[in-house]
């Protein structure tokens, strides 16, 4: 299986998009650290970019890569290889290249300028988001019948998680503001990996006081050891479940 991943990686490195992506991240993070006097302000700006760009690029790149390597997958299916092995090695190849692009682009500047707990939290959240959205994109592309639908649904999912979801949460909180919603908001945040990543870093930055009562609640919960385990666990679920679903769909698919 790892042998196949090698060919996938080789193919990805040749198409240069991944190199452009890591250079982009590197330039942005580097210049943010140069521009801002305060490193933690720079991290905050970087956080916003990471939360938007990383999921978007992971989704789009993965879906396009999946459709581009359709021929490769077809060729492999006629060989003595199992279907789950083929899809998993595709996943490993894509995830590894996106992760290394992220760790080069954001990781190196963070380690140089802001090597502390917050910086590491940012790296963890970015890495986890890369894996989560690669999984979701695999699910979207395996389920979709053609390229247009696949990329379209990937984009829609990104819109949902990055933009629409927050609006929905606000709406719910606003309409039910008379009721005690603390536990419920905690649950809501677990349903969106981007939110989860944001809260995870915010709490490490001591700006949670700005988040009011819920912020205090989050701090109380996420700040503790169980809170961290909970976040990591939910992130893992977000990685594993879509991938598992995609694997099941792929096993039953006619190609």
């Amino acid at each position: 299986m790892l042998k196949l991943s090698r060919y996938v990686l080789y193919d990805i490195i040749r198409n240069k998009v991944i190199i452009a992506y890591s250079l982009f991240l590197f330039i942005v993070s580097f210049s943010l650290f140069q521009l801002e006097e305060n490193d933690s302000k720079a991290i905050l700006s970087l956080l916003n970019i990471v939360l938007i760009v990383v999921p978007l690029i992971s989704m789009i790149f993965t879906t396009i890569h999946y459709y581009n390597s359709y021929e490769f997958i077809e060729l492999m299916l006629a060989q003595p290889l199992s279907r789950s092995g083929i899809l998993l090695s595709e996943y490993t190849g894509v995830a590894l290249s996106l992760l290394s692009a992220f760790f080069f682009g954001v990781g190196v500047p963070v380690l140089l300028f802001a090597f502390d707990e917050t910086g590491l939290a940012l790296l963890f959240a970015g890495g986890a988001l890369t894996l989560v959205f690669t999984s979701i994109a695999f699910l979207a592309s395996v389920k979709a019948r053609d390229k247009a639908r696949g990329i379209g649904s990937a984009l829609l999912l990104w819109f949902y998680f990055a933009l629409i979801y927050d609006g929905l949460v606000l709406l719910i909180l606003f309409s039910f503001s008379e009721y005690p919603m603390e536990k419920f908001t905690l649950l809501l945040s677990a349903l969106n990996p981007i939110d989860l990543g944001r809260i995870f870093i915010m709490l490490k930055m001591d700006v949670s006081a700005l988040m009011g009562y819920t912020g205090a609640l989050y701090k109380d919960f996420f700040g503790s050891g169980t809170g961290i385990i909970f976040t990591v666990g939910i992130m893992l679920l977000w990685i594993v479940l879509p991938l598992w679903w995609a694997l099941n769909a792929f096993k039953r698919k006619d190609l």
Partner: protein
């Protein structure tokens, strides 16, 4: 060697395969014939595990094919239209397949590679190859690992007369080695000198599976094309049949 039992497959409204039963043995060259959309490619893809049947079972060497993919190591498959990764070079492709199949150099059959003079284009990327050259690559790959079962989907379509002749000679050579060969083709004159059995499919149903001697005797025709045409005309199965030209029947299936 291959046993098919009650194989059924339906694509939405279209009955692609309806209750197919067949037994193919070593040393046989089976010609799969039938109009476009009669289910030939679906049958082949089912044997390869690319299409999952709705019901029924396929056994290769008495083992059912669901689950363990290792049976495919005995199969060489030449697709109707070969899809290959665009950026991959021809030499690289052969190397990769060798790596995946884990076959020692001594066991490889490089006959077609030499005869089609593919070694000279080893450093060309696959996307620059013409349709015919791709077919040659597909053919060389199918025979490369010296498999016991060869599945050739329209092998001579798109090949120039000389290459087509080379391929036919190669098939006859393999037939003498007591291998099982499955061929689909619309060029019945090509099949004439190769085939030992004829399997005729129409609208997903198997009309007959006979050896060529019986077929010739029954119809009183020496040439395969005429024999088939005779049967069809007698049975008035399909008025569109004209000698060696198989009529195009639009049933909507992507062949």
């Amino acid at each position: 060697m291959i046993r098919i039992e009650n194989l059924t497959k339906r694509f939405k409204k279209l009955q692609a395969l309806g209750d197919i039963n067949a037994l193919f043995n070593k040393g046989q060259v089976i010609s799969l014939i039938g109009p476009n959309g009669s289910g030939k490619t679906t049958l082949i893809k089912s044997i390869l595990g690319m299409v999952k049947p709705d019901s029924g079972c396929i056994y290769v060497d008495t083992k059912p094919i669901n689950g363990d993919p290792s049976y495919r190591s005995q199969i060489g498959y030449m697709p109707q239209i070969g899809h290959y990764p665009d950026n991959m070079k021809v030499g690289h492709l052969f190397n990769m397949m060798k790596n995946i199949r884990k076959v020692s150099d001594a066991a490889l059959d490089t006959d077609l590679l030499v005869k089609f003079n593919l070694v000279s284009i080893f450093d060309k990327p696959m996307r620059t190859l013409s349709g015919g050259t791709r077919q040659k690559v597909s053919a060389a790959l199918a025979f490369y690992f010296n498999p016991d079962i060869l599945i050739l989907d329209e092998p001579t379509a798109g090949l120039d007369p000389l290459s087509s002749e080379i391929l036919k000679e190669k098939i006859i050579e393999e037939k003498k080695k007591n291998k099982l060969i499955l061929i689909t083709s619309h060029i019945l004159s090509d099949l004439d000198e190769l085939t030992t059995h004829v399997m005729y499919l129409q609208e997903g149903k198997m009309i007959f599976l006979k050896d060529i001697g019986t077929l010739r005797q029954e119809t009183g025709q020496d040439r395969l094309g005429k024999a088939i045409a005779r049967i069809m005309r007698d049975g008035k199965k399909d008025a569109l049949w004209i000698d060696e030209v198989l009529a195009v029947k639009e049933t909507g299936i992507t062949d």
